[in-house]
């Protein structure tokens, strides 16, 4: 299962990377969302999947899934949420002020 999940996460990464290589700002932002998903899936997979109960203590249960990756993912989800929101608004403002959302028209020169 972990191998399959690694492949899935890798696929999400690949799709995300493909999108951030595109010209349109919007696609790039979508790509970063996919990248975060891929990363979170990687983290989860790096704990052992499905070994034991959810990490909520119950009398008599000894085996729980690894709680640490879950905690790390939670932190990471919240952080990526913050960054993605910021990026979205920035994308909008960039489009508004530069009148384009195509990255190849957002190059700039030395003389500014």
């Amino acid at each position: 299962m972990e191998i399959l999940m690694s492949i899935l996460a890798g696929t999400l990464f690949a799709a995300g990377v493909y999108l951030i290589l595109q010209k349109q700002l919007l696609k790039i932002v979508l790509g970063t969302a996919l990248l975060s998903h891929g990363a979170h899936l990687f983290i989860l997979t790096m704990g052992k999947l499905n070994r034991g109960k959810p990490p909520i203590l119950i009398e008599g249960v000894k085996n729980y899934t690894d709680p640490l990756p879950q905690a790390l993912i939670l932190t990471s989800i919240v952080i990526s949420f913050g960054v993605t929101s910021f990026l979205l608004v920035l994308a909008y403002r960039t489009y508004q002020s530069n009148k384009t959302d195509m990255m190849d028209q957002l190059r700039g020169t030395d003389d500014e």
Binding site: I3, A14, Q22, I56, L57, A91
Partner: protein
């Protein structure tokens, strides 16, 4: 003691920088003059100590942890240079008082000059190589500032930049050599290096060290092919040219070679390179000097050529050659210093230094003219016992005939040296005559001058008179300085003392014949100069080192510009692609080399269909985003991936994650919807198929790489996770059933605190962006 000597100019610079503007009635130079004068007397007072074969030294702490210590010593070689620095320094300051008007930025001028004086003393007195290097760079910097003294002139700034680039280049090469020397000899002290010279000579790095050190020396002393900065340095005020660019700073390279002679001299490499470069410089400099039209230009090339001659003799390394070199260092300072001062006087009194507009000045300025004739005849080596230049030049010829190298390439080379020496000297004779006769004899062209020429004020004449006085005095009584100054210096360079009596008449021997040939052919060439001078124009300019320098600098700038613009296109796609390619290549090469890939099937969760199904849908959705052109559709497929992920979290027993992911995904989708409404529609990619292929390869390989690392990492669980502690202690110590929650708020509470900070910052940024939109550029 020596510390105070070196410190004195720096202190004076500080004082003058702070105070001298207050007293504007008196020329600042008068406050400066006592500094070199007192130092000169102090150094003279040490002569008896050196005469006993002792040295003066003093040590103080600077950076003992790095063994960079302020240790100074005064031996014969240092003494010679110290006397030149302070002696010529005094005369130059005196001269400058009359040369520079009070309207100039005198404080700047003298501060730079004093900085130079202190640094140059530091160079010749340092025992610690890195202290030497420090002062060395400071001489370059003060020279830069002095050349750029008239900073509003383009020629000045060009010359300043050039001199700095060339000399700092050499300085850095020298630093490389010094570090290697220090590593090889395991000491930073020059004297200890000399004591450990066998370590250096046996080292594999011997030749690299020598070459790097010589680059330092050659750049500073304007040796071929680094000489071209010196003519451009003539943009400095004439006192500076007389001081830095003929008598002292340019001899720092000579000093360096002499100082390290005990380590390197005697090897064929040293002989061939030092004498070879010296001879090329001697000939090239003297040949090019006759081409110049600017008086200072002639003198600059002449200096280059004379330095080449001294370098050649140091390359010989024999006792007589070394004595001749040391002697000539002294003589050159006297006659060249005075000639520069006369050139300055001519410039000052006529308003031009262009020899084509000058002539016949003898009648207007007889004293200056007489001095100039003495200086030039000494430089030309006219065989009369009143010219010190003849004595050292004759010794040069003598030593060129007595070379010890007989075998191999060095032997062949040695055979040709007398011829080259004569050729160089012939042209030296030619430009010396060209200089003085062109300026002072012939018909005066008063109509071409800005002002009517007249003799310079006596104050300006004192310094050149003193220098010419030395020319004659030493010419007549060379042994006056032999015992006290020259001989100890020779000892410092060669290690042993050779008693050589200096005299004018040696009988009819080889050197005298060589001198006579020089005078004979020189006279013919000088008389016919006008006729053959046009030959110079036949030589294509692109072969000049000045052009080479310019093309290097301009080439560097334009290459940099082109190269950087080539990849710094501002294209995010290019940047990302390069980063990803580097990521994939570097990591996969390392994984391959370290045999890092590993796949183990023994410790895996069983494959269950719901997860696989969800995963498959997610993968399809993720790939599908690539082709989405409808905004809504794009949001839906992205949503599928996000919600699918929360479903996976449910399957993989991460309820908190599932919940959070659900909420975050919902808000994100809402945000996307909100933003999409304001952004233009998704467009179909207009990329070429080849570009798409590149994108695909990069994307696929990045995904594949991370998958491989993930599988390998999962297959190499070498240790038990620290998570067990959380499971065991969550309730006992953390007081919660939900282990993930306990980790977040307790075990790793710091993460959570700052995760909130990130959210807060994002909110702040978003708020600011939205609130202040439409207000445009607000940069102050």
């Amino acid at each position: 003691m020596l510390h105070i000597y070196i410190l004195l100019p720096f202190l004076a610079a500080l004082l003058i920088g702070l105070a001298a503007k207050k007293v504007d009635r008196i020329h600042t130079g008068w406050f400066v003059l006592p500094v070199p004068a007192v130092l000169f007397i102090l150094f003279i007072s040490k002569l008896p100590i050196l005469a006993e074969g002792k040295i003066v030294q003093s040590i103080a702490n600077w950076i003992p942890s790095l063994d960079i210590q302020l240790s100074f010593y005064l031996d014969g070689l240092s003494m010679l240079f110290s006397l030149l620095i302070t002696g010529i320094g005094s005369l130059v300051v005196l001269y400058s008082i009359f040369y520079l008007s009070k309207k100039e930025q005198l404080v700047h001028f003298y501060v730079y000059l004093l900085l130079f004086m202190g640094s140059m003393l530091g160079v010749v007195l340092s025992d610690n190589v890195f202290v030497l290097y420090t002062f060395w760079e400071f001489t370059s910097i003060s020279s830069f500032l002095l050349i750029g003294f008239w900073f509003y002139r383009e020629r000045s700034t060009y010359g300043a930049q050039k001199s700095m680039l060339v000399t700092v280049f050499g300085g850095l090469a020298m630093l490389g050599a010094l570090i290697l020397l220090s590593i090889t000899a395991e000491t930073n002290s020059i004297r200890e290096m000399i004591a450990n010279r066998s370590d250096i000579m046996e080292s594999d790095l011997f030749i690299p060290i020598l070459l790097l050190l010589l680059i330092g020396a050659f750049t500073k002393s304007a040796q071929f092919p680094f000489h071209s900065w010196l003519p451009d340095a003539m943009e400095a005020p004439t006192p500076v040219s007389a001081y830095l660019h003929s008598a002292t700073m340019v001899k720092a390279g000579i000093y360096l070679v002499a100082r390290f002679s005990l380590i390197f001299s005697g090897t064929d490499v040293f002989f061939i390179i030092v004498s070879g470069v010296g001879l090329i410089t001697l000939c090239l400099g003297s040949i090019l000097a006759s081409r110049q039209t600017d008086l200072k230009g002639i003198l600059a090339y002449s200096t280059i050529s004379q330095l080449g001659m001294i370098m050649t003799m140091l390359g010989f390394g024999t006792g007589i050659a070394t004595l001749a070199a040391i002697f000539h260092i002294f003589n050159h300072a006297t006659f060249k210093g005075s000639l520069f001062m006369i050139a300055g006087i001519v410039d000052h009194e006529t308003g031009t230094r262009d020899i084509r507009r000058l002539g016949g000045l003898y009648t207007f300025m007889p004293i200056s003219a007489t001095l100039a004739f003495f200086g030039a005849f000494s430089m030309a080596g006219i065989p009369l016992p009143i010219f010190n230049g003849f004595l050292s030049k004759e010794m040069f010829f003598d030593s060129s005939l007595k070379l010890e190298q007989t075998s191999g390439f060095a032997g062949t080379f040695a055979e040709w040296i007398p011829l080259l020496a004569v050729i160089g000297s012939i042209f030296t004779f030619v430009y010396s005559m060209y200089l003085v006769f062109g300026t002072f004899t012939g018909k005066a062209k008063l109509d071409q001058l800005e002002k009517k020429p007249h003799e310079a004020p006596i104050g300006m004449l004192i310094s050149p008179i003193i220098l010419i006085g030395f020319v004659v005095l030493i010419g007549l009584l060379p042994n006056l300085i032999n015992e006290s100054i020259l001989a100890p210096a020779v000892v410092s360079v060669t290690g042993d003392y050779a008693q050589i009596h200096l005299k004018f008449w040696h009988g009819l021997n080889g050197p005298l014949y060589m001198s006579l040939i020089v005078v004979a052919i020189g006279t013919i060439l000088a008389l016919t100069l006008k006729r053959w001078q046009p030959i110079y124009n036949r030589v294509p300019g692109k072969f000049s080192t000045d052009r080479i320098y310019q093309s290097i600098v301009n080439g560097l700038l334009s290459f940099s510009s082109k190269f950087t613009k080539f990849y710094m296109t501002g294209s995010l796609r290019l940047y990302t692609s390069i980063i990803l390619v580097f990521l994939v290549l570097a990591t996969s090469i390392f994984i391959y080399v370290t045999d890092g890939f590993k796949i183990a099937f023994d410790d895996l969760a069983p494959v269950t269909w719901p997860e696989v199904l969800v995963g498959f849908v997610m993968a399809v959705a993720a790939i599908a985003t690539i082709w989405m052109t409808q905004r809504i559709a794009a949001i839906i497929v992205i949503g599928v991936v996000g919600y699918g992920l929360s479903l996976l979290f449910v399957f993989f027993r991460a309820p908190d994650l599932a919940l959070t992911q659900l909420i975050v995904e919902t808000i994100t989708v809402a945000l996307f919807l909100l933003c999409f409404a304001h952004l233009p529609k998704l467009k179909k990619s207009d990329k070429k198929p080849s570009e798409k292929l590149v994108d695909f390869v990069i994307a696929a390989s990045t995904g594949a790489l991370l998958t491989i690392v993930a599988i390998s990492a999962h297959s190499s669980k070498f240790f038990e996770s620290i998570s067990k502690y959380f499971v065991d202690n969550s309730y006992k110590l953390g007081g919660g059933d939900n282990i993930v929650n306990v980790i977040l708020v307790d075990f790793r509470g710091l993460d959570t605190l700052f995760e909130i900070a990130v959210l807060g910052l994002a909110a702040l940024g978003i708020y600011a962006m939205i609130k202040y939109r439409d207000k445009g550029d607000m940069n102050p």
